[in-house]
Symmetry: C2
Subunit: 485 residues, 2 copies
């Protein structure tokens, strides 16, 4: 049975949590008295469905069941975890916790609060130990960070259980060592926000110029290394101590106005809102969300390629969910070796999957097959590999964004040095392309072909033999323009 | 003749400037009394050569000539522009400017200063109008931002000239409206730095945890949208005013410690340096630089795919430099349609260009050819396109990181509906792969083949006719396993 999370408060943040739980296979019950909640969550979920699966290289679990509860008691019934994302009013949060704990006394409650400490949240609760901060960043379904902040009332098991739930839905839980208002991320954001408001008020820069100052410069750095590692590198060969010596004195320089804050009044709101309209008004919020999501997917995929930072979080999450494709009985049909989902960056200007991605999909299938027969990365590290000498691609159907493809492989012929196979890419029952390939086994150092090692041949040859009885696939051995040109 | 820049101060920042100018075709003379300067700049330049060309989709200009000058007078001779990146000591900067302006009175001097105002820099100069702030972010050869900050002494032409030079080397010049210490970016960095030091001193988080709090969350957002646009989106449907109403009150909350700064002493330096060693010490600074550069190239390429933010800066820079490949005389040889450079993300675990990238390169060649015959994006927008029905790839040589490939296309046969061509990818004289393709002209709405429009056929058919006399390329019409399997 699927695990169940209750989402209390269905705004941008609550909706993002709902999406993340659902897409990771949890059932989700939402409670929000807003009559528009269902529509709003539906839109966030639509965004999330277009973006989050694009980060996964293993099939996503079946989406959980989404329900909207009429009462908090109904939402929390049978729930293993509650994520509370109501407004930042402490009395309201206390009231919510009282109702939740009355209906489901043992339930674990994580709060999305931007700044209240766990000990503030726990006040007056009969079970303070089950209330903890789990503070995410928008969009919750893409950004991995969840700041976990407990008070002395939370036993280590509760912290550990929260951490584990966050990992289960693909997040990066960061446990904060000491209670502090606004935790870590929001303290930085607040400092920058205050400084930025001064710049607007003082006429130094507009909202658009400030955004450019961030996204054309240090913003790009921070998506992959943060502050200290960036400065360590900036110190050059002399490293962190050199950097400190160089910029330490600046602590006394007038580089900030944060000894004071600008007055929050209508004039300030107007100033910000009008400049923001001028900067971004050409796009609707929904368009901006999609642009943001595509950009973030691009960043995250590129970090994942390198197994670095947030990309490592994604890889680890895949690894935990990876379902090994079993070769099964070698007497069987062509082997289903991969499931793939068509990502936004795979689409060309025709709106279809770009040509080279067909071959990319075929490589994923062939690589999975090579892993199956033991010609894996360790084998390559030992100096042997299969190189593709020749490929023939037949396009049979169009593929669009979000399509899920399965890839099967049939061995046509294999001997000590050669592997001739035929890959079929299908969307459901529909064949979208076939890729026939001739691969040669090589000694990489010598740069020439050689016999595969016995361990590989012992796995490859029985499959080849079993496949020898299969019908020859349609299109095998074709040449381009055969009989026509 | 190449334009010349003088680089005064050859540290991490000066070296980054030198690399950016050189790779954009300028001659560069460096002055730095450090006996290690030549080695250090060589290493920065090595990093830059591996990274910056990877962002370009048009051939880079020939690299400029790098020289090391024995005196400032020699460095600045014949220079159109000076970039000063010496230590942050105002007397030193004044001394440098005096020497430069004595040797080359009219030269434009941009300073990399992190915080001095232009009017501070200009003090005591006989030509204050030619001294201006051009403040970059590390790594200078990848991050586009250059904050341009002048004083009332700088006439608009000087600001404009500086802006133009920054654009010429692919940067994003951001002109600051009013003089302010530390400009925009560094004020934010300083605020975050001070807050982060408090967290270390207070034992709330380590350097590694702080970096994770940034790069797993808002750091990813800021690489593409900055602060205000991000918050506009976070406001949800109600937008910026809603966001302000929600978080305005937080201005009065104790979310920052910036009313004071931590004391800068040895204990603080030790604390930061030791935690930084624990966090990043497994990598050398050079390794971290390469990791950072690859991550940034990944981010920037993904933004470029979407023509957004810093990616738009890259596209615009390409556009300015694009050399149209001319079809030339249609009686000629196969058409050279593209130059490509092998990027880090194109490399597989064998250390070679990954299989699907061969087809990607072929698509780049074919797309350029289709643009040439008028079947461009506008044509596609009108509902017609060429779809690839079949491809045959022959691998003939290995391709490695950084290799430059040229792609030529020979038309084998063309008629109203069909285009059969043969693409050759070469590294220098060496053929690394051939790709034979059959493309069909389609009416995209009807989803079936149809005749190409006359304007396209008028350009395609004469080329086909001219190519009919060329020898048949080796490997044409091959089937896999021909005569062997």
């Amino acid at each position: 049975m699927a695990r169940k999370a209750a989402i209390i408060g269905g705004g941008v943040i609550g909706g993002g949590w709902a999406a993340r739980f659902l897409l990771n296979g949890w059932d989700v019950a939402v409670f929000d008295p807003d009559p528009e909640a269902e529509r709003k969550i539906g839109e966030v979920l639509g965004n999330a469905r277009a973006a989050l699966p694009a980060l996964s290289d293993v099939p996503m679990p079946a989406e959980g069941r989404l329900s909207f509860a009429g009462t908090m008691a109904e939402a929390v019934e049978g729930a293993e975890y509650v994520q509370e994302s109501v407004s930042e009013r402490i009395e309201l949060k206390h009231k919510v916790y009282a109702q939740l704990q009355q209906s489901n006394p043992g339930v674990l409650i994580g709060s999305s609060t931007s700044g209240f400490k766990a000990s503030d949240l726990q006040k007056s609760s009969p079970a303070p130990e089950n209330i903890i901060v789990a503070h995410p960043f928008n969009p919750v379904y893409l950004l991995p960070l969840s700041e976990i902040s407990g008070s002395p009332a939370n036993p280590p098991e509760v912290v550990e259980r929260t951490v584990q739930i966050m990992r289960d839905i693909g997040m990066f839980p960061l446990v904060i060592r000491k209670e502090i208002d606004a935790f870590i991320g929001n303290r930085f954001l607040e400092a920058v926000w205050r400084e930025a408001l001064w710049m607007l008020v003082d006429g130094v820069a507009t909202t658009g110029e400030i955004d450019d100052a961030i996204r054309m410069g240090f913003g790009l750095r921070w998506g992959q290394m943060g502050l200290f590692e960036t400065y360590r590198v900036a110190g050059g060969e002399a490293g962190m101590r050199h950097f400190m010596a160089q910029f330490g004195p600046a602590l006394k320089w007038p580089w900030t106005k944060l000894m004071d804050v600008p007055e929050f009044n209508d004039a300030l709101v107007d100033l910000v809102a009008e400049q923001s309209d001028a900067q971004s008004g050409a796009y609707s919020i929904r368009e901006l969300e999609r642009i943001r999501d595509q950009n973030l997917v691009g960043f995250l995929r590129s970090l994942k390629d390198r197994n670095w930072g947030a990309g490592k979080v994604l890889r680890d999450h895949d690894e935990r969910r990876r379902v090994a494709y079993h070769a099964g009985e070698v007497t069987g049909a062509p082997l289903q070796m991969a499931e793939l989902q068509v990502l936004p960056s795979w689409i060309d200007y025709n709106g279809h999957m770009t040509e080279s991605r067909y071959l990319f999909c075929a490589s994923e299938v062939a690589d999975a097959f090579l892993r199956l027969i033991g010609a894996d990365m360790q084998y390559v590290a030992g100096g042997h590999s299969y190189y593709t000498a020749e490929s023939h691609i037949l396009h049979k159907g169009e593929v669009k964004l979000g399509d899920r493809l399965t890839g099967t492989l049939q061995v046509i012929h294999a001997d000590e040095k050669r592997l001739h196979h035929f890959i079929t890419l299908q969307r459901g029952e529909m064949v979208v392309a076939t890729i026939e390939q001739m691969c040669l086994h090589v000694d990489m150092k010598a740069g020439k072909t050689c016999a595969a090692l016995p361990a590989v041949l012992e796995r490859l040859l029985p499959i080849a033999e079993a496949h020898a009885g299969l019908p020859r696939p349609e299109g095998l051995g074709r040449a381009i323009g055969q009989g026509r040109v």
